[in-house]
Each structure stands twice: as structure tokens, then as C-alpha cells.
Homo-oligomer: 314 residues x 4
């Protein structure tokens, strides 16, 4: 049985695992990301790969899922703000230290591939995955294959513009989708509400230890589960923007399924139900076309490791 | 040499041509569309096909480019408001009358295919075509193949939302891209200007026989070519929305080239230059990624016939 | 009993009347406005005044309500696009020809004064009148006196901005209130609807002789009275913007009453009911403050003549 | 020489002073506001008044400037969220404890009156003051008199809507002016910038001790004074919204002067220059009308005490 190693390189942690051809993780390991030092990051990656490789005989290749833009040859990370990487030849660097072939992929693409092969996307060949976390990660599966675009930088849907002159985005533009539909957007919404209407946001403030800044995603989800009207309003707002965005994606891509992952997807039906409603109300040509299914991701935070490993296999 | 017939079925006319495998039209014919009667439209299509078929021995197949949503089996038009078609089994109807295999395709898809194979898209495998006319027609080429989506309804980019609560669109939504970036949007802009600032729009009104309603696309283009500042402002506004939209498409699809067709593309550099500028200023990650080329279409109004014919061949 | 003459000078007609101190019009006369020739306009005004003056012995003064900006000495029209007047010394010109003292006032101010003294504003000292017609005319009564501002140009509320980068306005800006809440805005809304959704707007098109351009205000009002859902939607949209604007005025001015005049006010409760609802939902501090009353004007198209005449008296 | 006492009651402090008829403060005193307890707040007010009264023989009256809505009889605070007052009969309560006549006024109104009589508004009878701090305080002087509106709640201009569906406001609405043009808005802008573009906002973060939350108004002003481009961009954004808002006020009120006060006005020309530019570009009818002057307030944080004291005199 051929094994591969998948590595998920994010701004805060490096997660790696040995994965078999059914998508099962046989062993895994994590390290904090030394994010301000590009050289050290490559070394940490090599370290975890060598550690895992030492435990299994038949590891054949390594798949690396990285934040940022990956070039079309799947070798170099062109730009990854959170990792301090610019034109980083990470494939070569890691190959030299681990003695295995390495393929590099955008992390959301790896996540999408993991869900497509072994998670919520099984049996569907046209998938758009969006991971709602700090921002929006996006991966697209077309005809059963990962879509990378002409230059390797496709599927950055978090940065299409949804509001002219809207909220400032880290990419330098204003009004990007991820500023309105993401885990951070939910927290932004809840803190705003707590700041201007403390009375209305009483339960949120209580869970947040009294200050707007103390409120983060899990608090909003918990309050919403308890039926708190302020938290539910925050969810409705984010779901509205999410559903609208999925309808926009459907106008362009007409996929068979959308998969919602990322930290925000832990909210489950609390998120899914209003997203489906908003999508159905916003889809162009509704009533005259089949509609994509909208599902919650199944692999959780492991999807990136599993997907990266599997991409190294093919 | 194998020949095929391409038919372009629009709201006002049916155009058909015999096309060879180099994309050359050997002979063509046009008829007005009997658009309120679905049955008659099929008969007109069959009539022009039979007429052309009678003149060439080796016609092997027919490609039909039609406005509206085409189902995934490329047989039935699900919904085409301008043709009065709902669930119209047009493949079967035409095949019965012409005795040749027929494939049906969305008209903008056929246009995109024509340009990709024989026009401005030659040599590029990842293309987004937008045809700026009454609305926005859109076709997408991925890996050298026409992209149709899971249900056959992909590439309706004219209906992704660019302005929340924006201008009303014929699709029933508000704020769709085609309400801001299309030939009609240009005319809308010019008439608005003439209505509220007749002094400023003097040349436009002159060309439009004195009334705002008299101004149409060719008048705006002519005035802009003369250097009229009001007309140039209208072009800049439409180019801004077009370039922004292409940047949004690039965020999602990362194509190698955009091709701009449709009636508005007759304006050439008058449109192309400000679109390129707007695109370059709006692209997410600009400076850290290769940029798609933006080109004017080359086949003009024949692209749909040529593309449909070629799609029948493969 | 002292009489005065009121003259209402608009872009299309000059209306004049002899008015007594109870606001009764004893006799009136109308002439078309020779709007492209400033000199002739003054002559037409003098002609109608002299005509009326000849019939009544004790006419003491003339009040002139004019479109445009009137200077602080109430003598000169600084700017009136529809009358081709720039720095027109109309007080002096008319006085020379009629031998009576003349005061000049903005037409909406005159209308507001008429309603305040003899119409819907009786008994209220803090009033904002808005006249919904081609645009929004506005007049403000504070402490029982007409408010003119420091330079005579106050109460142009139709040109505060309600939508950033919104609809183009004749004043040269974008997003002015009158582009969203006026008789013209209602017609704009109805034509737009008819253009993009002819099926939905069937009754409007029928009344408009088949084309969107054939639909004007009275048609929309008639269809709405019949219960036509498309026309009612147009009214709701305009009422929403009107009520929001009144709430904005209330935040700044806190009047005791709003009076809605202009051609659109003929719709009566069809307009008034949804305006009141929108106002109540948009008012800042609602629930903690007394609310202004919202009323339909009572004097109709005579308010300008009556108000101008009365302003000449004081 | 008659003296009066002015008291400025804010959410965090109670400031009081003995003021003569030339607006000079002879002696002053401050106390923290016991803001959660309405009863105690009245007692603290009485305490500082009695303290000052004991030092001067001829104090004749007390003027109280309070946050919130003050009723038309100038006796009761209807609603002041930051003071926990609802229908608080503060005039009567304080009069009972100090034995002097008391008049109550909205704090921004008192500030406007102070500036009008003794500060930047001397010699001008039509003034709009806006105090840019936590929100926007507003006071209006018409014909040399303080404007209070029909019900005493006029001049709450911070709550007219500038962006449909815009930023949430503490008043319960969305898109209020003060969410875009105020000291808090400046800080909001700077923190947002630091959050999404830390590299660009390096100097701001440095001054803010490394975290976006550490940045407050004085840091942004300091960085802007040093020429930091990120801070200057934040100022330009706020100045744009401020100038637009003043243009909107001018459309409605046509004042002779605008006075900008509040904490943000400490930035002086850094704020004033771009506000003037934005105003001049946004004013309706620009070029055909005299323009209001825009000035920085002169009395600083004393304006409220001075104004309240003077209002007690008349």
C-alpha cells in the first residue's frame, strides 16, 4: 500500500500526517510556524516530514498545502503574506532535505481536494469549496480535477468584490467577499453590535468577559445555540452574504455542490440553513435550472493534510 | 473535407453558415426569428439548415447556438425568455426535419468557442469571453475545452451581483454586472447624462436627433471618437465596471486571456484601454502574479455560427 | 382690504393671481414661459401683473415665486437652469414695468409659505414642506417664519446625498435625494420595471400605450389605485426613500409637521401611508421623542401663487 | 457684573465653571460622572454648583449642558443613554438643591452657543457647529438664536443617513453620519488599516504599542503630523465624509459658517484643509452661490461650560 505525507502550512502551525490511499491519516504531528523567518519554516517542514518518514517504510511522496499564491509548476510560493514568503522555491528546499518528490499546492485547494475525494464531495465532479475562517479559502473541482487556473492562482473567490467602496481588505482592495462572509466577519459583526448596542448584546458581552474585544467566534456560536437574538442576527447577516456569494459563484461556475468548511462551519445548521435560504433567493434563473447542493465539510481541520497527501499521489 | 453547419439563434434573427474545419464560412444565410412562436422557430432553423445542406454534399452535423439555458445533455433549451422557449426539445425537433445529428449550445458559449479556436483566443487554453451587447454573454474555455458547468448552465457571469440593491435586472435580481457593463449600460449612461445635463451632452443629443431616447450605442461611440467629453465619460464609466468585473473573474478563474466581444467591442481601443487600466487597478494580488491579457474579439458577429459549427464536429 | 398679486414662475408656465389676506385667489391668469429668453420672461411676468392690476384698485405689491436660487436681498435670481436666468435682476425689471414693489422668493419657499399660512400647515410653526414633482422642491418654516438661510439659498433638501456614487442628478452631483424620491423617480422606477420585466409590468405598459416611455406618473398612480402589484411596488420604493429622507430631515430640524406637495401628492394615502411607515422605522431616537406629523398639502398647484402673494404683504 | 454657572454633564465627567458676561471662566471644577446612577449624577451636579456658588456672591442662574434629548421646556432629559437618564426631571432636582434657576440644554447646543457668542462664530448669525468626538455633536444657530426644533430635539445631524445599509450605529440605525465622520471613525479607520495591512500601518502600530487596539486618536494625529502616509490616508477618508456631510447640511440650511469642534478638531489644518476641499467639490450649485466658511472651534473643551452659562443668562 502506497503512502504519502501531507503537510498543511498555515500562518500559525505546520500540521503533517502520513495518509493512505483511502484518505486515512495513520500518524500525524504538529509544530508552530516560525512565520517571520522563511528559512526556518522550510526546516520545520523538513523536520516533520523526516520524523514521519522514519516511521513508515513505503512513503513515496510529499504534498505541501501552503497559504498564498503557488506558481503554475507547483514548485514556488509566489506570495504568502502570513508566511513572509516571496518567490520561495519551497519544493526544491524541502526535496533537498527529505529525499522525496514534493508537490506544492495552495492550502484551500488541498482542502477542497481532500473533501472532494474523501469527504463531503464524494461522488460529485463539480465542486466549489469555501473555507470560512480568518478569510475565505476557496478551491474548485472541475470534471473531477482540481482547478488551478492558467497561472496557478485560480479560486481566490474571497477577493471578488461584493460592495463598491466597501470594507478594507488585507489584499489592498475594498469590499472583498471575505470581509462580509467569514469567521472574522462574524466576529466583526458581533463586536460592532456589542460596541454600539451593549444592552442588546448582553449575552455576547457576558461570554466575552465584558468587552467587545473579548468576543470571538466560539462565543457567538454558543450564544446563537442558546437562542440569543443578537448572536442569531449576526449569523443571519453573515449567512446572507455567504448565500449571495454562492449564488454569484453559481452564476459563473454552475457547480453540482458547494462545500462549506473552515472554523465557521462548526456552527452546522445554524449557518447552513440561512445560507441555503439566501442562496435560493439570490440565484439567477431560479426556478428554471437545477440547483447546487450546499453541504458542510466532513473532514474538519484534517482536510488540508489529507488533500495535500493525495495530490502528491497523482 | 468534413463540413458542418452552424446556426446562431438570437431574439431577432437566425443566422446559419456552412463552415469548414479551419473555421471558414463557405456560405451563409439569415432569417428573422419568429420569436413568439416556438414551433415556427424550429421550422425556420430546419429551413435554413436544409437550404445550406442542399448546396454541399458532405455536411456531417449541425451545431445550434441558442440564447438561454441549455440542459446538460445539450438537447433541450430549458429557458430562453427572448425565444419564448421553455423546456424546448430543439435537438430532436431539428434532427427530425434535417436528418443530421444536432448539438445545442448556449450562444455565448458557441461564440467563445469560435473565438478560442479561430479568433482572438488562438493559442490560449484558459479563456473568458464576454460579449457586451444588450446584456453580457459569457463563455469560458478551460484546458482548451468549453466549460459548461455541472448542469450545463455555467458562464452566466453577467448575473453575478456587483452592487447590493443596485439596478434592476431582467433576470429578476438587482445589481447584476450586465446592468453596469454592457452596450445597454453605455446607452443608459448616455441617456441619463443627456436627461439631467443637456448642456453637457450637447453633441450626444445632436447625434440622437435631439432627445435622450434618440441616443443609441453607435452615437455614443461616434461622439467619443470625436473626442466629446460627455461620451468619453460614459465610456470611462462602463470601462470601470467592465475592468472591475474582469478582475473579479480573474480572482475566481485566473484565465490566460479575456476576450471582449459583442457590439460594444466595435469601439476598439476606446473601450479596451480604460478596461485594461481598470482591470490592472482592481486585480487582487496585483504585482505578485502574472496578469491575463485582455483582447478585442476578432470574428465579429460570425463567431457564434463558426463556434456552433465547430462544436458539432467534436 | 389690501390685495397683493402672487406670480409663480416655472419652467413651463407663468401663473399669477390676485390674492386677499385670507389667502383667497380672486382672479388668476396663466401664460406659457418663454423659457429660453430671459428678457421675454420678465415681460410676460409684467404683462400678467398689469392685466390683473387693471382689474383691482387696491393691489399693493407683487410676490414672485421663481425656480432657482434667489439672493439674500430677495431681488436677483442667481441661477435658474430651467429659466435660462443667471444673476437676473428680476425685481428691478418687473418693478419698472408694473409700478409696484416686488419681492422675489424661491418657488418652493413660496409654496411652503402658502401651505403654512392657509393650507396643511395652519397652526404649526415648525414645518418642512417637500414638493415631489420633477425633483424635490423644499421650503422650511421656523418659528412661524420662512427660513431662507444665510445667503438665501437654504432649503434645497432635494440635493443632499442619499446614495454615495448614486444616480446622476441635474445639479452635477450623484445620489441626490430627488433622484430617488420624486415624481420623476416614480416614473423612472416604473419604466425600468417595464423594460426589464414586461410580463410583470403588463398593466403599466397597457396604460402607457405599450412602451416603457409611454408610462408617466398618472399611469402609475392609476394602476396602483387598481391594485396592480407592479405599480404598488414602485410606490413602495419611492415611499421608502421619501420616509427615510424625512427621518433625515427630522434628525437635523425636528419639525412639528412635514407637508408633502407636488404632483406626486395627488396619490394621497397611496403615498402617505407607506411614507409614514418608512419614516417611523427610520427616525433616530424613535420611542424617546415626539414625532412630527406627516400631511398631504391642501392648496394644490395654487400654493405657490398664494404664498408668493402673501410674502409680498409682509 | 452678573455671573452664571455653566455645567457640562458628559458620560465620563461633570465640568462646571463660573462665567461672566464676556464668556470668561472665573473659576472651574471637575468631577467624574457616576453614570450608572441617575440620582447620584444630580447630586454631583448640585455639589459642584454649590461649591462654586459659595465663592461668588452674585451668581444668578445655572445652565446645564447635558448629553441626550432635552424636552422643549428645557427641564427634562428625555433620553441620555450614556447617563442612564430616562425622563429625568433634572431642572427641578438641581434647583431644589442649589436654590438658583436652572435651564437645561443639549450639550452640543451649549457648545455651539459658546462658540457662537465668544468663539469661532462671533459676528455670524447662521452657524452649524459639529463636534467630532465619540460621535458627532451638532448645534445650530439661526438668526443669532440657538435652534432647538419643535420638540427640543433638533440638530442631531450625526444621525442622518449617509450610507444605505451602512455601518451600525448606537442609535439603532445603520449608516449614520457619525459612523463615518468623527473621532471614533478615524480610529476605526486606522485600526482597520492596521489589522489588514500591518506593513502599511507600521508607524501607527508602533505608536499604538504594537496592536490595532492600541491605536487611538492622538496616535493617528501624531503619525499624520509626521507625514505618515497611512495616517494621512485615514484623515483624508474622514475629511471626505465630513466635507460631504457639511455640503449636505449646506443644501438644507445654507449657513454662513461651519465650526468644527470636538477632540478631532485638535488636528487643525490636517483636518480642515481636506474638509474644505471635499466640501467645495460636493456642494450642490457650487459656482452659483456664496459658500459658507469652515472654521476650527476656538474654545476647546470649555465651550460647553461657557455656552451653558450664557444660555442661563438669557
Amino acid at each position: 500500500m502506497a503512502l504519502t505525507i501531507g503537510v498543511d502550512v498555515g500562518g500559525t502551525k505546520v500540521a503533517a500526517g502520513v495518509v493512505d490511499d483511502r484518505g486515512e491519516i495513520l500518524e500525524q504531528v504538529r509544530r508552530p510556524t516560525p512565520s517571520t523567518n522563511p528559512k526556518e519554516t522550510a526546516e520545520v517542514i523538513a523536520e516533520v516530514v523526516n520524523l514521519l518518514k522514519g516511521k513508515f517504510e513505503d512513503v513515496k511522496a510529499v504534498g505541501l498545502g501552503s497559504a498564498g499564491f503557488v506558481d503554475e509548476t507547483r514548485s514556488t510560493v509566489l506570495f504568502a503574506p502570513n508566511l513572509a514568503w516571496r518567490d520561495e522555491p519551497i519544493k526544491q528546499k524541502v526535496e533537498e532535505q527529505v529525499g522525496l518528490p514534493v508537490v506544492v499546492e495552495n492550502d484551500a485547494n488541498a482542502t477542497a481536494w481532500g473533501e472532494a475525494r474523501f469527504g463531503a464531495g464524494r461522488g460529485e465532479d463539480f465542486i466549489v469549496l469555501i473555507a470560512l475562517g480568518t478569510g475565505i479559502g476557496c478551491g474548485i473541482i472541475i470534471n473531477g480535477e482540481l482547478y488551478r487556473g492558467r497561472f496557478g492562482i485560480g479560486a481566490e473567490a474571497g477577493h471578488y468584490r461584493v460592495v463598491p467602496d466597501g470594507r478594507r481588505c488585507g489584499c489592498g482592495n475594498r469590499g472583498c467577499w471575505e470581509q462580509y462572509a467569514s469567521g472574522n466577519a462574524l466576529v466583526h459583526e458581533a463586536r460592532d453590535l456589542a460596541r454600539v448596542s451593549p444592552a442588546l448584546a448582553g449575552r455576547l458581552l457576558e461570554l466575552g468577559d465584558g468587552s467587545p474585544e473579548g468576543i470571538s467566534g466560539p462565543e457567538v456560536t454558543q450564544a446563537a445555540r442558546e437562542g440569543d437574538s443578537a448572536a442569531l442576527e449576526c449569523f443571519r447577516t453573515i449567512a446572507q452574504w455567504t448565500g449571495q456569494g454562492l449564488a454569484d459563484m453559481a452564476a459563473i461556475l454552475d457547480p453540482g455542490a458547494f462545500i462549506i468548511g473552515g472554523g465557521l462551519s462548526d456552527a452546522g445548521d445554524l449557518l447552513l440553513d440561512p445560507v441555503r435560504t439566501a442562496f435560493a433567493e439570490a440565484l439567477t434563473g431560479r426556478g428554471h435550472r437545477p440547483q447546487a447542493d450546499i453541504r458542510i465539510a466532513e473532514l474538519g481541520s484534517n482536510a488540508g493534510v489529507v488533500g495535500a497527501a493525495d495530490l502528491a499521489r497523482i
